[in-house]
């Protein structure tokens, strides 16, 4: 008895020290998880904001961004899920109750709670594939892939994540289960949608360019005003009147028929639709535009030129000699090769027969002698 009494305070002290270190370790682990959660949240916000700004500027999807975004989403969701794991799987059972009151009904309940999450995964995946199916892809002038994406599913994930994070801070366990369920659904939706869009972008980018279908040879020379009018005509699909074409010239396409010296012509045509009408009449006389009741459309070789849509590569060669400069541009798409000679007053457009030596022609045309 005397010995026991002597050792009791030491045993209590040992337990207290052990308890202190255990509590401290749990505190540090929880702190680490909370820091991970906050860091991931802020990193997600910053990354999403940056990507959206980049996408708005260029409308070009970077392939890595398509995969990076769902990776960040899955990471943040996983952190939140891990923080809620006990509450989500075991409900209100605490550690003490878990050891004492575990019975077959509890086991069934745990399996039901955990299994129901599979429904969120499957439903989220299916919704993601449906969302991706409605994303339309297109090509830019140089064959890059563009897509129109409103990103509502990202807003859905972000809202679900925010609500779930809020309820995580509050003590209402029954709400946390459903908010975690929705955030898992949203994360699976984003992941499935982005992987599907990624696969679509890859397949479109890898598809060989078809080139122009066979038809009337493209070979014409235009005055600068006619060239500007044709650049407006080539941009739309539906017939448009002179006023609508003038409005579209306010936001000109710099990559196709532009020449620095044409800027004045372009401004004049924007402000003066009748002058644009006269340029369109000039195109019509050359068989490059047609007017119907609904408005102007490209015709003949110009209609075929519009089918080209984009160029995989373009090479512009400017030769400067004796104070004069001459520029020739080669546009290629698959087997189709077009040679454009934009001068201060005229534009020449010529299609090369398949198999012709376009590079020699480029050098020859820029140097001022035909080959």
């Amino acid at each position: 008895m005397v010995l026991d009494a002597a050792f009791a305070p030491q045993a209590n002290l040992g337990l207290k020290i052990l308890s202190f270190f255990t509590t401290g370790a749990f505190f540090l682990i929880t702190l680490f998880l909370k820091l991970c959660y906050s860091t991931a949240l802020y990193a997600t916000l910053a990354e999403i904001s940056r990507r959206i700004a980049l996408f708005r500027r260029t409308r070009r999807p970077a392939l890595r961004a398509l995969l990076l975004l769902p990776a960040v989403v899955v990471f943040c969701t996983a952190i939140l899920f891990a923080l809620n794991l006990w509450r989500v799987v075991f409900g209100s059972l605490n550690l003490k109750g878990f050891a004492q009151a575990f019975n077959p009904m509890d086991i069934l309940w745990v399996f039901l709670r955990a299994g129901f999450f599979l429904g969120a995964v499957v439903l989220g995946g299916a919704l993601g594939l449906m969302v991706a199916n409605h994303v339309t892809l297109g090509r830019d002038r140089f064959g890059g892939v563009l897509y129109k994406n409103r990103g509502r599913y990202l807003a859905f994930w972000f809202a679900a994540f925010s609500v779930c994070g809020l309820f995580r801070l509050l003590p209402w366990g029954f709400v946390t289960y459903w908010t975690v369920w929705v955030v898992v659904l949203a994360a699976c939706l984003v992941t499935a949608a982005h992987w599907s869009i990624y696969a679509k972008v890859r397949s479109v980018a890898a598809a060989p360019a078809p080139g122009l279908p066979a038809g009337g040879e493209i070979a014409f020379t235009l005055a600068a005003r006619e060239a500007v009018a044709l650049s407006a005509l080539l941009r739309g699909r539906a017939p448009r009147d002179a006023e609508a074409l003038a409005r579209s010239l306010a936001d000109p396409d710099p990559s196709w028929l532009a020449h620095p010296a044409w800027t004045a012509e372009l401004r004049a045509l924007v402000q003066d639709p009748p002058a644009l009408g006269a340029a369109l009449e000039g195109l019509s006389a050359k068989g490059l535009a047609a007017k119907s009741g609904k408005g102007w459309t490209p015709a003949g070789p110009a209609a075929r030129l519009r089918l080209m849509g984009f160029a995989e590569t373009a090479a512009g060669l400017t030769v400067r000699k004796g104070g004069a400069a001459r520029t020739v541009v080669l546009h290629r798409q698959g087997p189709t090769v077009l040679l454009l000679e934009p001068g201060p007053a005229t534009l020449g457009v010529r299609e090369f027969p398949r198999g012709a030596d376009a590079v020699a022609a480029l050098a020859g045309a820029a140097e001022g002698h035909e080959r």
Partner: protein, 140 residues
């Protein structure tokens, strides 16, 4: 081919030392046409001459190496110049050839200055063009 890298300041300094005026055809006219001269006796001049001397482009007496001098003459006062712009999925690039007396110097501008490659016989210019247009990374 010999490859030489020059910063904007080094190129400006060499033009100054050689007393070369930029012709309108020169590929240097756009980046260096409005650039201020490197002040004599300044720390900027000391930095430029140190860099050029360490690479053998300036000799110990401060005069330009004859090769460097010839390249600057080619670039500043070419008889003819080609400017090739390339666009494609791999990005965009611009490269120049300055021709004089049957030979050419290639000049490529980047963030650090100029990358020069020489000599290229004028007879091989079309092959050079073919290499860039058909095999450039812009089309990859």
């Amino acid at each position: 081919m010999i490859e030489t890298r020059l910063s904007l300041g080094e190129a400006r300094y060499l033009l100054q030392v050689l007393d070369l005026k930029l012709a309108p055809e020169s590929p240097l006219a756009d980046p260096l046409g409005g650039a201020a001269e490197v002040p004599a006796g300044s720390t900027a001049e000391a930095g430029v001459t140190k860099g050029l001397t360490s690479r053998g482009l300036l000799m110990s007496d401060g005069a330009p190496n004859p090769f460097a001098a010839a390249v600057m003459v080619w670039l500043a006062q070419p008889e003819k110049a080609w400017s090739l712009s390339l666009f494609g999925r791999g990005g965009a690039a611009m490269v120049h050839l300055a021709f004089k007396r049957g030979s050419a110097v290639e000049c490529r501008r980047d963030a650090e200055g100029f990358l020069l490659r020489y000599p290229l016989p004028e007879a091989e210019a079309e092959g050079w063009l073919r290499l860039h247009v058909d095999g450039g990374r812009h089309g990859s």
